[in-house]
Symmetry: C2
Subunit: 259 residues, 2 copies
DNA sequence: AGAAACATCGTACGGTGTTCGTAGTATTTG
DNA sequence: CAAATACTACGAACACCGTACGATGTTTCT
């Protein structure tokens, strides 16, 4: 999942920003266009899981030979970048004029939805920021949400970065909860029924705080440490995001200028 | 980097919680012990990068045959889990009695340090929570930091989860900034000098907010979107973490009971 | 018609995690 | 003491992976 940034920057930048270069004059027509390739790759990655996308299976899904892929794309790393920017491009931008809080909320909700629909985003985007047009457009929109409230530039970028960081981290917990059954090949209940005996035996009495939580709030160990219930994970996402928004609100209030 | 949770849970749990099982009575003595194996794996992963750890190279570093590794560990997935729990076990626990803020600050600082020292943690821990004794001990300690302030249980777990989510997301930005030069094989400056011409040409005039930031605050595009300067990334980490802590403080204050 | 430019793709290379079967060794048993 | 036993060690092989190379076929321009 690393695929160091091999290809020369010019080629990658051109693919991201200009799409496919002008059609060449000679030789046989390409059977594919870049859009179809990237779309198929996204669908395939969604279907088969994050790391399971292989150039061979992608080529097969497209009905072409494996080596032919390299006519369109320098390598897998660049393909992944194109996939990221394309997914981001499909997200709606936050509404302007509804206030910073509604705007950031919209942004985070869309991001969470994208991470859930395309879990591989978490692994790709975690290792390197993609410098595509849609990614930057979205970042620009996020910055403008905090414009006009008197926040200094350094704080605007800081707040947006904080939101992005939190969303990425919390979304990965949500995705984990959502994917746990599929990955283990069994239902949540089976998964826990098989592990709980070992855990309870080992944990017995050694973790008073967790025990207290279990007695007081009806949390089981499985519920607190790893919120395997999707609903619990979503609740946590919302709770923590509210914390972040509240903190941003305090900074805005402290900066003087009203909305 | 997926390595679905193959091995049976009993074996994995036993490895995590009980260490190596009682020494067998017959047959040749094992040449290795589990601790040495895991330690070497950690060192190797630190040295060669996240995904570059291979069972073959690890075996070579240990001076044994590749297949022999599977005598000690069911597979790579389980080995990675052992590595995670071992790293977490090496972290100091937050001081009790210094207050929740100091405690959480200590926790986050140590986590960030661990992510920087072992970048592969971000990719391993992102996909599944490791249920090892040290991980749970650390979680227990985090919970107890917020004990006694009158926060309801659901909020205690919510706040700890929020901190963890933020730290994971923000740390990945820091690590990205720190590793960028090594990954691209060139210095920051070279990397940007090669890409900036293409970027500025494409971005010219299309992103007024970013342009304004550049004019006003001395931010370059490279500085805002991807904080390739390590110092800037660290500043952002601290700023956002302060936001989260402030929000938690507000919740605590609203819950009545003083420290 | 011939040359040049291009897409296609079978094949091969060096890597990966893991399995299998066998060889070897130390303890326990008869 | 010898034989059975239970264990470690590991070379070889399997099924994959991303990618480079070179041959082949197709289209367009001269």
């Amino acid at each position: 999942m690393e695929y160091a940034g091999r290809g020369d920057p010019a080629r990658t930048m051109a693919l991201l920003w200009d799409g496919v270069p002008p059609a060449p004059r000679r030789g046989p027509r390409p059977r594919l266009d870049l859009d179809r390739l990237v779309d198929t790759a996204i669908a395939e990655a969604d279907r088969t899981g994050p790391a399971a996308l292989s150039m061979r299976s992608l080529a097969q899904a497209l009905g072409i030979g494996t080596a032919s892929l390299y006519t369109y794309v320098p390598g897998k790393a660049e393909l992944l970048e194109l996939m990221v920017d394309r997914v981001v491009g499909a997200q709606p931008l936050p509404p302007t004029g509804a206030g910073w809080r509604a705007g950031l909320h919209h942004l985070a909700t869309e991001d969470l939805a994208a991470f859930r629909a395309h879990p591989w985003l978490l692994q790709v985007a975690a290792s390197r920021t993609v410098f595509g047009p849609h990614v930057i457009t979205r970042y620009e929109a996020a910055l403008s949400l905090l414009d006009g409230y008197g926040l200094p530039a350094i704080e605007v970028t800081g707040c947006v970065a904080a939101v992005e960081s939190y969303v990425r981290g919390a979304a990965s917990a949500v995705v984990e909860a959502e994917q746990a059954p599929a990955r283990t090949g069994s239902t949540d209940q089976e998964w826990w029924e098989r592990r709980l005996p070992y855990l309870t035996e080992r944990m017995d009495g050694r973790f008073p705080r967790l025990d207290a939580l279990e007695r007081a709030g009806g949390f089981t160990v499985s519920d607190t440490t790893l919120p395997y219930t999707l609903q619990r994970a979503l609740d946590r996402f919302a709770y923590g995001f509210d914390l972040v928004l509240n903190a941003i609100g305090t900074r805005i209030a402290a900066s003087g200028s009203p909305p």
